[in-house]
């Protein structure tokens, strides 16, 4: 912690509200900052501005009607959320999913993960004051949205996966466009590296800022690129494999120091790994049905089940208790951003205000997911 600018200066402390409408809180997050000059003494996040009672909604409607809600929690990467929910119902009801459907799910989820990381990449740099990179990253992200729009029908809040498969089969056009996109994005990475990763201003803003060690991540339950940036290769796709992920060869990028730069690099390398997964999945894509035979009125057997997936921001877990009817008794959703946000007070104590923006941006928070 740096020396406070006035060591004996209790009366000079003041409070500053960051948010709920602040460009770098990306949504309606409010952080009450106790300041000592330019230094943050105590940042306290305030939640609840965007609360929509998603968990309660799940308790008062038949389970298929909750599907559109899942895409509206983390709108930047909706497909892993879809995936977790349908896989949970499949586990509880014991439904086998055709192999082709699982491949389609993996391909589209990974595309969505890249789109989410590109959005984060642009938004983080926008927070740091660089306007140009977001235009380039949105150019690439736009390609993914076009590909996914053609197959899912919507651009952001997808509702594409169904219990037993997916709602629509992919065609040759999709495969062709996705392959073209993989080639395109691989060609763009060196450009991003030149523009951003080597830039001295960027390096000075993120290096050694917001250091989180593995122990702190475990204490707060932080997951995803945050814990991987701290050097722990914890990824649900490897540690608790679901769907057809075990069939693919990919690596889990990890950082060494756990600072904002490491988290940046981890996400950057994750995009490359996602491209690898998509490429392998397209090569191996099996023929067959894309939807299993599911009874039209499927009642959930009494009991409970949980399912966790690796969303773009970390571990997403659903836990459902059923009393035997088609309305769930309770649905608990564990979202990654909530735990990642809880790191903020400890991580940012004693930091400069401008560094807090960089550190918070590197956590990649999506507020509607926290206030679900």
């Amino acid at each position: 912690m740096p020396e406070p600018c006035r060591p004996d200066s209790k009366p000079h402390r003041f409070f500053l509200n960051m948010g709920p409408q602040h460009p770098s809180t990306h949504g309606v997050l409010r952080v009450i900052l106790e300041m000592d000059g330019e230094y943050v003494v105590d940042p306290q996040p305030v939640l609840g501005y965007g609360h929509r009672m998603h968990e309660k909604m799940a308790e008062c409607r038949p389970w298929p009607q909750f599907l559109p809600n899942t895409g509206r929690m983390d709108y930047a990467a909706a497909l892993p959320y879809n995936h977790g929910y349908v896989a949970l119902i499949e586990r509880l009801a014991g439904i086998e999913v055709p192999l082709r459907a699982e491949y389609i799910r993996v391909i589209t989820s990974e595309l969505n993960r890249i789109a989410s990381h590109l959005l984060w990449f642009g938004a983080l740099l926008l927070d740091l004051g660089a306007f140009t990179p977001i235009l380039y990253s949105f150019d690439d992200r736009e390609q993914i949205l076009d590909i996914l729009e053609d197959i899912t029908g919507s651009r952001l809040t997808y509702c594409y996966f169904r219990v037993g498969g997916v709602s629509k089969d992919i065609d040759d056009k999709f495969v062709e466009r996705t392959r073209a996109f993989i080639k395109r994005l691989r060609g763009r990475f060196p450009m991003y590296e030149k523009l951003v990763n080597g830039n001295i201003i960027f390096i000075k803003r993120v290096e050694d800022i917001g250091i989180i060690d593995a122990d702190m991540c475990r204490r707060y339950g932080a997951t995803g690129p945050v814990i991987r940036g701290a050097g722990v290769p914890y990824d649900i796709r490897k540690s608790e494999p679901y769907s057809v992920y075990p069939e693919f060869d990919f690596e889990i990028p990890v950082g060494s120091k756990g600072d904002s730069m490491d988290r940046f690099l981890v996400r950057f390398q994750e995009m490359e790994q996602s491209l690898r997964i998509i490429e392998q999945a397209l090569d191996k894509l099996p023929e067959g049905p894309f939807m299993a035979k599911v009874p039209k009125k499927l009642k959930l057997p009494a009991g409970d089940a949980n399912f966790s997936v690796e969303a773009a921001r970390g571990e997403l877990a659903y836990y459902l208790i059923s009393d035997g009817s088609d309305v769930p008794y309770r649905l608990k959703i564990r979202v990654p951003s909530y735990s990642n946000l809880s790191l903020l007070p400890e991580m940012c104590r004693g930091m400069l205000l401008s560094d807090l923006v960089a550190a918070m941006g590197s956590l990649d928070l999506v507020i509607p997911e926290i206030d679900r």
Partner: protein, 148 residues
């Protein structure tokens, strides 16, 4: 010299900025990728999931809706109202009211999947704006007749 690292950093830093500027300059000379939206419009994909519309059966030219109410029951938002009556001399119910409250619709598409007669489909409308709420209460039967 003690300041060796300092000057090296100055040099490397300045070079990194110039490299970045080179990237932007290269992009500057390339063709424009943005679409000037109100003046230019992109073709929307035929798979686009807009709000729902009633469709005609290509053989009979009539709407195949049988007023089963599956769409209204499946809708998570309760935005569909369907009513029908049995006219004399007809076997099935005929449709009298099909209202969509688009202010509540979440565009999930569950209604289209649930329809046993494929009487509803997604519309291609995406430029939707209005001044009052009532403008989004669509009478789909009227819209079907207007389309001819």
């Amino acid at each position: 010299m003690k300041n060796n690292g300092y000057f090296k950093e100055l040099f490397v830093g300045a070079k990194s900025l110039l490299v970045g500027l080179g990237v932007t300059f290269k992009a500057f000379t390339q063709p424009i990728v943005t679409v000037q939206y109100p003046r230019e419009k992109l073709e929307i994909t035929p798979n686009y999931r807009g709000h729902i519309e009633l469709v005609r059966d290509p053989e009979t030219g009539e709407c195949p809706c049988i007023v089963c109410g599956m769409c209204a029951r499946t809708c998570p938002c309760g935005c569909i109202t369907v009513k029908g009556e049995k006219k004399e001399g007809e076997k099935r119910k005929s449709l009298t009211v099909f209202q969509l409250d688009f202010t509540k619709c979440s565009l999930c598409g569950l209604c289209v999947e649930s329809c046993p007669k494929a009487a509803i489909d997604f519309s291609q409308d995406y430029n939707i704006a209005g001044f009052t709420r009532e403008e989004f209460h669509y009478d789909l039967i009227k819209r079907l007749e207007e389309r001819g």
